[in-house]
């Protein structure tokens, strides 16, 4: 059986689902961090096998997580829709060759590192300058939030630029871009679910941000959206880099055997 669902992909998907659930559970419930890290497996399958396989992994992860409680899956089920969209997007990035290594050097590399840093700042600026977050009469974060956001942005920019520069690989820039776009779309899909189903909160570390936005006067949907636009791009960028590092650590021979393998390894690596 060819296509996106070869036997190799069929055996990869359960492992990816388990990685999603175990890692997501550890990060959200044990470490209580305001990010999720529950889509590493989804993005990995999407990139290696294609959009449909990625979407299936995402949807099943959340459904199984809900079905097997005892590891804190109380609210995750309805977000299966978001997870499916993330998998679809990852498949698209894989098809477009975003995760293929692009060795570079000299000015080109320096330029890419700078563009990567600029991209991060571009994403953060509208958030920081948004009236909803700043103006107390419209809505707003507490005082510490803006410096915190700027701090996180600067660190993220340095990480993206440093990653691209030190690995001598333009792919760092592409992966960061794909992660940010995935995050923004995921946030837009999640916010209505969170607002409609759970009254806007999910019982994890991200609720602090929702509460801060509500205190500033944002309505239920906008508070969830604001939280999502804050957490998701950061989360999905980290996840994308993790997946990129995993792919780089696998031998090209193994990667090339997956349906999308030819778009992930450079021709000379398999030769």
């Amino acid at each position: 059986m060819g296509g996106q669902f070869s036997t190799r992909v069929i055996t990869l998907i359960p492992v990816a689902i388990a990685i999603n659930i175990v890692l997501g559970y550890t990060v959200q419930s044990v470490l209580k961090l305001p990010i999720y890290l529950d889509s590493i497996g989804t993005i990995l399958v999407g990139v290696l096998a294609g959009p449909l396989a990625g979407a299936l992994t995402g949807v099943l992860s959340n459904v199984i997580w809900q079905y097997a409680p005892g590891i804190g899956g109380g609210t995750i089920g309805p977000f299966a829709i978001t997870a499916g969209v993330i998998g679809l997007l990852a498949g698209l990035w894989g098809r477009l060759g975003v995760y293929r290594s692009r060795p570079a050097s000299g000015t080109q590399l320096l330029l890419a590192a700078l563009v990567g840093a600029a991209l991060v700042i571009l994403v953060v600026l509208p958030i920081v300058n948004n009236q909803t977050y700043l103006d107390p009469s419209v809505g707003g974060f507490p005082d510490w939030a803006v410096p915190a956001a700027i701090g996180i942005a600067i660190i993220a920019a340095i990480v993206v630029a440093g990653f691209t520069y030190l690995r001598r690989d333009l792919a760092g820039l592409w992966v960061a871009g794909a992660g940010v776009i995935t995050g923004l779309i995921a946030a837009a899909v999640s916010a209505p679910i969170s607002a409609y189903v759970f009254g806007g909160v999910t019982g994890s570390g991200t609720d602090v941000i929702v509460a801060a936005l509500r205190q500033g006067g944002a309505d239920v949907l906008n508070a969830s959206l604001g939280q999502g636009f804050f957490s998701d791009p950061i989360d999905k960028t980290i996840t994308s880099f993790v997946v990129f590092i995993i792919l780089a650590s696998l031998s090209p021979r193994v990667v090339a055997r997956f349906p999308n393998g030819s778009r992930l390894v450079t021709p000379e690596a398999t030769a």
Partner: protein
């Protein structure tokens, strides 16, 4: 070769004896109504249905455990909505800079009921239905063997991976990793923990796909079932009735044809 123990296993009790598909339909219907029918009636009646089913299935103690697991979420819902409900003006009380409102409290309680009803309906289903029962029944109903393998294997892999995560944590601790310090120290601990876990799991993939292929996994012939779970005409009719009734109720409620308090 002796047959595995579950072949001869017979569930007892009125609810547990139901076919897994019937239980799945009940769980799905309660969850869907609790979420989609707004205001009080939907969540309250569905929570009642779930509690009655749990009672019939004698799930007193385990269900309490699952109810307790929703507490962090419930606290979050209650606090954020009661004190920070946008646009609400009917003030109940003031605590420092925060104002509790009646509208907020009502919204919070409704969301709480919905979430608890949902979490418990899934819990009742998963506590009374062994995974192998559910999967073999779904396979008999024509769900593809690939999907069956993915679901079954994922559910089986999770406990093994949690076990593996513990082993890796212990061995990294033995090498001096600090897993109980400040947040920053714990974040730095993620890499030495997640790295071996992911690479170990991925290395199994190749081996397993070979093993599956060697056992004719991609053969196209229809497989026979070793064990058929009891099902009845009554249950078949009941399943369809529940599904149609749920869909009608949700559509009627969403379009405003029926307005429940």
């Amino acid at each position: 070769m002796a047959l595995p123990a579950f072949i001869g296993r017979r569930p007892t009790g009125a609810y547990r004896r139901l076919n897994p598909a019937t239980k799945l339909v009940i769980a799905f219907a309660t969850a869907a109504i609790a979420f989609a029918v707004r205001e009080w009636t939907g969540p309250v009646t569905m929570l009642a249905v779930v509690l009655v089913t749990a009672g019939i299935a004698r799930l007193g103690r385990p269900i309490v455990k699952f109810a307790l697991a929703t507490i962090p979420l419930v606290i979050s819902i209650l606090l954020v909505n009661t004190f920070l409900f946008p646009g609400a003006t009917d003030v109940l009380a003031r605590v420092g800079p925060f104002t509790a409102t009646g509208t907020g409290l009502a919204a919070a309680l409704q969301a709480t009921l919905r979430v608890v009803a949902f979490a418990l309906s899934v819990a009742v289903f998963s506590l009374t239905t062994p995974t192998d029962d559910l999967l073999s029944d779904l396979e008999r109903r024509g769900l593809g063997r690939r999907t069956i393998f993915i679901i079954g294997s994922a559910i089986g892999t999770i406990p093994r991976m949690l076990e593996r995560a513990r082993e890796i944590t212990d061995s990294q601790r033995a090498r001096g990793l600090d897993t109980e310090g400040s947040v920053w120290r714990r974040i730095r601990g993620v890499v030495p923990l997640a790295g071996p876990m992911i690479s170990g799991a991925l290395s199994e993939v190749e081996e397993r796909s070979m093993a599956l292929e060697a056992r004719g996994f991609s053969a196209s012939a229809r497989r026979t079932t070793l064990r058929t779970l009891p099902d009845s005409q009554t249950q078949l009719v009941a399943r369809w009735l529940i599904l149609v009734a749920t869909a009608t109720l949700i559509v009627a409620s969403l379009t405003g044809l029926v307005h429940l308090p």
